[in-house]
Every structure is written in C-alpha cells, then in structure tokens.
Amino acid sequence: MSRLFAPAASALRPVVLWGLAGASLLVLSIVFGITVGETPLPLSRVLAVLANNLWNAGHAVDPIDAGIIWSYRVPRTLVAAACGAGLALSGVVLQAIVRNPLADPYLLGVSAGAGTGAVAVTILGLGSGLVGMSAGAFAGASLSFLLVVLLARAAGGGSPQLVLAGIAGSQLFNALTSFLITKSANAEQARGITYWLLGNLSGIRWPDVSLAIPAALAGLVACLWFARALDAFSFGASSAASLGIAVRRVQVILIGATTLMTATMVSLVGSIGFVGLVIPHAMRFMVGPRHYRLVPAAALAGAVFLIAADVTSRVLIPSQVVPIGVVTALVGAPGFALILIRNRRRA
C-alpha cells in the first residue's frame, strides 16, 4: 500500500511547499499594501486592527486609525489583489486560446467594451448599483469580444488580424464611451468617469470586495480545472481536438470566465492595462509554459503587482493619487517592449 501512496505524496510535496510560499507572499503583500499610504501607520497598529476585526482580539486602537485601516485600506488592497490576479489570468487564457502572445483583455477590446457597458449603465440609469454596473460591463465586454473575433475571422483569421481587430474594437468602444459621456453626463459626472476609467481604487469599499474576490476565485478555479486543456492548445485548436479536448466548450467556458473577470474588475476599478499582457509573459519566463504552474504563478504575480502598483500610485506624488492605470502603463510599456524584442529574436 505504501508503495502505492508514496508517488502521490512525493508529487504533492512541491505543490504544498509552493502553495505555502505563494500564500505567505500574498499575505505579506496585502499587509504591506495596508500599511503603506499617505497617512503613515505603524505595522503594529495595522496588525492590531486586523486582529481586532478578524478574531476580536480587543487591542486598544484609535478609532480613526481603525476606520482608515479596516474600512478603506483593507478592502482597497484586497480588491487590488483580486483585480491583478483576474487580469493576469485573463491574459494567460486569451494568449493560450487565441494562440497570440499579444492577446490580453486590454488589447483585444474586452476592457474597452466593459467600460462602455459600465458607463452606459451609470449614465443612462439602466440598472442600479454595483451589480447593475458589473452586468452592464459584462454585456459590453462580451459584445466587444464577439465583434473583435468576428472581424478577425472575416479578415482571414490570422494572428495579426486579431490584434488589428482588437485595436479597432478598443477604439470603437472607447469612442462610444466618450460619446455617452459628452452626450449625457454633467461636468462633474464626466470628470469622475474619466478619472475612474484610467483606473482608480480610491472609491473601493467592502461591498466591492464581495464582488471582486469571488470573480477572481471563480476564474482561478476555472483556469486550474482546464490547465491541461490550455496546454493542449499549444499546437492549435485542431491538435487540441485530436487530444480529446472539447474545443468549443472549453473556449466558451474559459472566454466566459475571462470576460466575467475583466468586466467585474473594470466595473470596480476602471480599465487597467498591461497587467494581462506583461505578467503572463514574465511568469512564462520564470516557471515555463505549462499551465498547472503558469496559472497559479500568474494569479499570484498579478495580485502582488497590482498591490505594489496601488501603493506606488498613492505615494508617488505626495497628497495626490496617480491613477493606477498610469502606474501599470509606466511599468508595463517597457515590459511590453521587452516582449516584442524577445519574440522577434525567437521568430
């Protein structure tokens, strides 16, 4: 019997070790994200507040500090982590399924469509509150992705066509968003929306957490479940089919999960570029192309990266918040350039 179980146990050990290491890194990043900010708060106070709220530890803390930490910084950091993970996973899935190293929700117009949907709901008052906005974002994201894929297919269906169609889709939906804003929003709404579209986490509260974390977790579970299917797409969809993958079903489920994650994240924090593009490639470089490693690595790295980007956006200019999309672009654009150069060398 022990011979039977030994291989399983030894195969499990690295999973457990890496899982623990990853979880510790994530927790450390979250504590870091909560601690650093405009108002300097000592780590001991942050830990005391966390302990008070998580298991009623009963430490004496200034209620203002406790409020800042528990009502603002904790949800903000958690949403940053969920968004980073969700966007990075979306990139991993899209790159594998459309077999294009440049695929990510931002470049393929999914984020732009989600933005249009969310803005339409807000301005036209089609629905109400968080869920209405997310639903609008989901509808917009699905519509734009569908249009981009159809356009790419009509144009011949190659890799360059998909990227070009994605650019067209992004432009179209960004224009629609601007049109909606100019037509229907008052000046104050317009400024708020524009600011939010650049990526902004300052309005995040606890209800947002209960949307972001389930969306990211659902996406992570879907990606892990289909990790082998994603591998099987390496040599193309037809080769995946001959390896026993129900290609159409896997595509629909995974692209649905991607759209859901992107739409949720965009409706919460606006559209944040480059995470879905740069993180998956950086992780391919570090852990290789196999998805059972790539998926968790990208989710973790995306979460840590967006927490760091959020912290940077808060402390970069004293007493001013730089939109987080600006920070990710400042880091991401050079990363993107590296990917382009690396790809040329391989081709």
Binding site: A11, P101, F235, A246, R346
Partner: protein, 257 residues
C-alpha cells in the same frame, strides 16, 4: 481497431474537396493513402478522425458512430499526427510528448508515474529520448516530426493516423519510423508520397481530386497505367536482388516524348 466510413464528403469554396469516399479499415492493418498534392489525403484523414466541421457522411469506430462519442473517447482510441503543427510556446520535448496523455487525465486523475513511464517509452521509440530537455524552437524539422510521433504514441491509441510521417526525416529515420509503425500492435492509416514506401503497406488507397479511385493490395493498385494516369510519371518496376522485392524507378513523361 476497426473503422468504417461511408460516403464521406467535405466542401469548401463551392468545390468538393473530398467526395463520396467509403472505406473499411481492417483491425491491425497498415493502410496507406497516396495521391498527388491537393488530392484530398489530409482532408480525408481529418474526416476519418472526426476533426472536420460541416462534414458529410459517417464514421464508425468498432461499429460505434463517432458522432455520438465525446472528443475524449475518440482521443483514447485515435491519435492523429498532422502534416504541420507548430507552437510558439517554449515547450521542451518532454512537455510536448506529455500532451499525448491528455485524454487519459483529468483534474481528478493527474499525471502520475505510469504516465511518466509511457511518455519516456514513447520518446525512446521515436528516437527522441536523448533530447527530452531540448526546447521546441531549437529542434530541426525531422526532430519535430519525431516528437509529434512520440506524442501520438504516448496517447496509446488503437488507431494511429499519420499525415506524411516520413516528411522531413532522413533516410535512417524514415526506415526506422516505418519499421516502428509496422511493429506496433495498432491499426495505422497514413498518407505517404513515396510509392516505394507505400508498397510496404498492407493495403493502399489512391486519391485523385477528392475521390478514392483505387483501393487494394499495393502490388495490384500501383500498376504502371494507374501511376502514369494519376501521378503523371512513367514507372519501371525493378527487382532488388537483396530480397527480391519490387522497386519503382520513375521517369518524367516528357522525357519519353
């Protein structure tokens, strides 16, 4: 594994690419498919593997209609090596061969020791065992072809479909591949261009413009008249003194005018 196909057809651009092909494959045989470029060999193989959308006709695997089977069930029986399949992922040889285990695995039954053993065996059989850590991008055309064949072997199929498997291979690897294929205890359907290699199949089918125009024992099918009309070459049959087997030599029809 037994395969019977009836009235297979596939159209593209208003043209019949494969037209009314019916075929019965006997368990254990090695069936060769020959025909000029564009005659529909690859398309027919893909139809037989159930990989074509909008296909006409039906395929039975061991008397079970393929349309009722899940992709995974098909992939546990049938492995397919495409004519050209490439990747931009930085996979190693072992990674690529491991893909062959996909139909046997799920999230609940992960890759185990038995799978590892099968993958190693498949790499060795295809002569790629010594290169298992090499990156896909660094492999030569023939090495890639052998990785694909190893991947198909790792799938442990009962029917192996190969589209021009000897393409890109040097003469040593061509012969060892054909020997390997003939020794496998599985049914094989393969498209070939080399008529001398095709002579070693148990049976041959000849494709021309989407139709199966001849089918039978290689010696009967590849008559000088048929070769002249289908392949537009003149052929002389020689006898190899080493083993008394028939060898073809080809001459361009123009040379004889």
């Amino acid at each position: 594994m037994k395969l019977s196909a009836s009235d297979l057809g596939w159209c593209a651009g208003g043209r019949a690419i494969v037209d009314g092909v019916s075929l019965d494959i006997v368990p254990g045989e090695t069936f060769g498919l020959v025909g000029p470029n564009g005659s529909g060999k690859s398309t027919l193989l893909r139809l037989l593997a159930g990989l074509m959308p909008r296909a006409r006709g039906r395929v039975l695997l061991d008397d079970v209609p393929m349309e009722g089977m899940s992709r995974r069930d098909i992939a546990r029986r049938v492995a397919f090596v495409e004519q050209m399949a490439d990747t931009s992922e930085a996979l190693t040889v072992r990674d690529a061969v491991e893909l062959g285990r996909t139909p046997w695995l799920s999230a609940l039954s992960p890759f185990g020791y038995e799978d590892r053993r099968i993958v190693t065996e498949a790499m060795d059989a295809a002569g790629m065992g010594h290169m298992e850590d090499h990156a896909w991008a660094t492999l030569s055309g023939g090495e890639r072809q052998r990785v694909h064949i190893a991947r198909a072997l790792a799938q442990r199929p009962r029917l192996l479909m190969l589209d021009e498997p000897t393409n890109h291979l040097d003469i040593h690897h061509q012969l060892s591949l054909l020997r390997l294929v003939s020794k496998l205890r599985v049914t094989v359907i393969m498209a070939l261009h080399d008529l001398n290699q095709a002579m070693n199949c148990d049976r041959l089918g000849v494709m021309e413009q989407g139709r199966l125009v001849a089918c039978g024992a290689p010696g009967d099918v590849l008559s000088p008249e048929l070769v002249a009309s289908i392949f537009r070459v003149h052929v002389t049959a020689l006898t190899d003194p080493a083993d008394n087997s028939t060898v073809f030599r080809f001459h361009s029809l123009e040379d004889r005018r």
